[in-house]
């Protein structure tokens, strides 16, 4: 019982941190530019595929660095030549552009690498059990993933709060025109923020693609959950994104580990029931759907999200 609890908790937190890495980038870009980047998870996917491609001849760690740089560069190009051009057509056009980009990325990945998952593997150097805790094993690679995520997030936090560049970014977040008047190159700042957000997504892809399977559907799968995170946490709030990410990560992992159904619970209580229909659905089967149910609930009870601040 306690193994189930600890195991699910650890899995939940590590998945939640991954979600946060993606949702914080999304929130940062939204807060900065008012654009909801539907293609955010696409950069995640490209990060995984590029890391896979380079890991074949360069090794895992160099491939990771190459992948992050390439994805960041792609992000900068998308902002410079795509978003900036579409910006003058209005918000709707920006949304449609990022949506189209998401769709295209999936198709292009399918075209180059095929529809089946690719064999992106965990590096041998990290493929062992780190330690045992209360009967659950903690795998070294998962620990590595969590470590990288935490380092990344702390660096980002410190970059924004403590450095000069960070202060300029914070200012541009609330008043880009004024910051431009003060002589800073606001378009460059926007492009950099977008590139950083995408690079983070790419890093997330590079370190988790080998664990969670690298295939064309990964962007949609994770992307949708990231959007739910952003809605549940409240659009524009990074703290909200953190809370929602961990919450959803934990809920999904706990549910996935429960192999019982409502019917089992009822019979456990000593009540006879037909083992059919909705009662026969195992809780573990609902794990994929739970984030969306949570989203609908939040919409009904607390439309602004847990900590919602900014509006479109």
């Amino acid at each position: 019982m306690i193994e189930f609890f600890i195991g699910s908790l650890l899995n939940g937190i590590s998945f939640g941190l991954l979600l946060f890495m993606l949702s914080s980038g999304l929130t940062l870009i939204f807060g900065m530019m008012g654009v909801l980047n539907f293609a955010h998870a696409s950069f995640y996917m490209v990060g995984a595929y590029v890391a896979y491609q380079f890991s074949a001849f360069a090794g895992f760690y160099p491939a990771l660095i190459i992948s992050v740089s390439i994805v960041g560069f792609l992000g900068a190009m998308v902002e410079r030549f795509g978003l900036r051009h579409v910006h003058k057509h209005g918000h709707m056009a920006e949304l449609l552009f990022t949506f189209g980009l998401a769709y295209l990325t999936v198709e292009m990945v399918k075209m180059v690498w095929g529809k089946l998952p690719v064999d992106y593997r965990i590096p041998h150097t990290l493929d062992f059990t780190l330690f045992n805790i209360f009967g659950t094993t903690v795998h070294a690679y998962k620990a590595f993933m969590m470590l990288i995520t935490i380092i990344m997030l702390i660096s980002l936090y410190m970059l924004i709060k403590s450095t000069r560049v960070g202060i300029i970014i914070q200012a541009a977040l609330s008043n880009p025109v004024m910051v431009g008047e003060l002589g800073h190159n606001v378009p460059l700042i926007f492009m950099s923020i977008f590139a950083i957000g995408c690079a983070m997504a790419g890093l997330a892809g590079g370190i988790s693609g080998n664990l969670f399977s690298t295939e064309p559907g990964m962007a949609d799968r994770l992307g949708l959950i990231v959007f739910v995170v952003v809605i549940v946490g409240g659009l524009g709030s990074i703290t909200g994104a953190l809370v929602a990410s961990i919450l959803i990560g934990i809920i999904m992992n706990f549910a996935a580990a429960i192999n019982y159904s409502l019917a089992d619970l009822i019979s456990f209580l000593g009540i006879a029931s037909s083992k059919k229909g909705i009662l026969a659905i195992k809780i573990s089967q609902t794990a994929e759907v739970l984030p969306f149910l949570l989203m609908v609930l939040i919409l009904i009870l607390r439309p602004k999200g847990l900590m919602g601040t900014r509006e479109t």
């Binding site: 795509g82 579409v86 709707m92 449609l96 295209l104 659009l235 919409l299 009904i300």
Partner: protein, 419 residues
Amino acid sequence: MRSSIITRYKIWIISALIISIWPLFLSDLALSLLSQMGIAVIFALSYNILLGQCGLLSFGHAVFFGLGAYFTIHALRLINIGQLTIPTPLLPLVGAFAGLILGITVGLIGTRRPGATFALITLGINELVHSSALMFIDFFGSETGISAKREGWLGITFGSQLEVYYLIVIWTFICIILIYAFTGTPLGRISNAVRDNPERTGFIGYSPVMVRALIMMVSGFFAGLAGGLYAINWELVTYENVGIMQSAFVLFMVFIGGAGYFFGPIIGAVIVTFITLYLSAFTGAWMLYLGLFFMVMVLFAPSGIAGILMLHKPVWQRKLLRRIILSYIVALFSCFVITLSGIGLIEIIFHWSSTGYTNSVMTVYGIKFDAKGFLPWAITFAGIILGGYFFKKSLSNVKKNWSLVSIELQSKCHDDSSN
């Protein structure tokens, strides 16, 4: 009065006659294509009630369409085993009412926050329905879906595609008329106000949330109706019909056609259905091409094909088209070169990768070659770069001619008003 109705709607009336009589001479394959177009037209028009009329961008319209289809096919099943009696022509209304109820439900929970948040919500709801499909196997039929047989009515068996086609086409016309009439009702007008300025709409007495919810209800009704026709046409509904691809396709249809005009979605539905059915026979990368087409429209022609046509209407009316047509032909030719080279490049990559990068010998545009060679890449890249260069140059020529034409148009306007 009589004659002015006929002249105003002459394009519609002529198309109505063509669509009604010509199919008597067409093959079943062509009839199937036209049937799918009819369904797509209703679906796209229902989507534009949300987008063009009320400014609501939804990524989850498949929910109304797919669930409408599911409810209809279950009703048909019940009719098959004799537990229900509904005449086949009225069957789509089952889907329509399912869509109506879903529409008002989603409308009341999801429309409080417009814009990007609403888009995300629709995406989430769509995925909620799509992923629960594998949980509720009795309703969604797991991977194989739910099927039923069309029932006859008053001597018509609905066994042939021609009979199904006429059923669809009659419903399509009814829907076009109803949706068009809806735009002129008070609710239709106020939805335009909500699109333009939701804040001010509150200050003229309307609750923006209520307006949006009602608009979703109407939109859901027609989407569900389209779903019902789909169920009747294919006699099979699978959970892909509530998938996000379905939602993406209707968005493509409406946007490519042009969301700002009533007839835009009709054009878009016809074109996208055609691409989906015919292009898939020629190349495996058709979904990529569809996406690229969409992106090109977003970047360069956000008002859609309808927008482009309407832009040229005054030019055509004043017979000034010959001024710009030459520069257009030059520009379009360079576009053609870019497109051909681009397609070539995509086809090379696609063919090579679909063999797992083992066999690089392929046939594109009827020419056989080896992708490992230098020439195919050189030609395609050269085509794109040169085409791009000439396109840019010809564009300045087009702009020059356009400004001359606009000056003429404005001066002609002045002449008219001063007379």
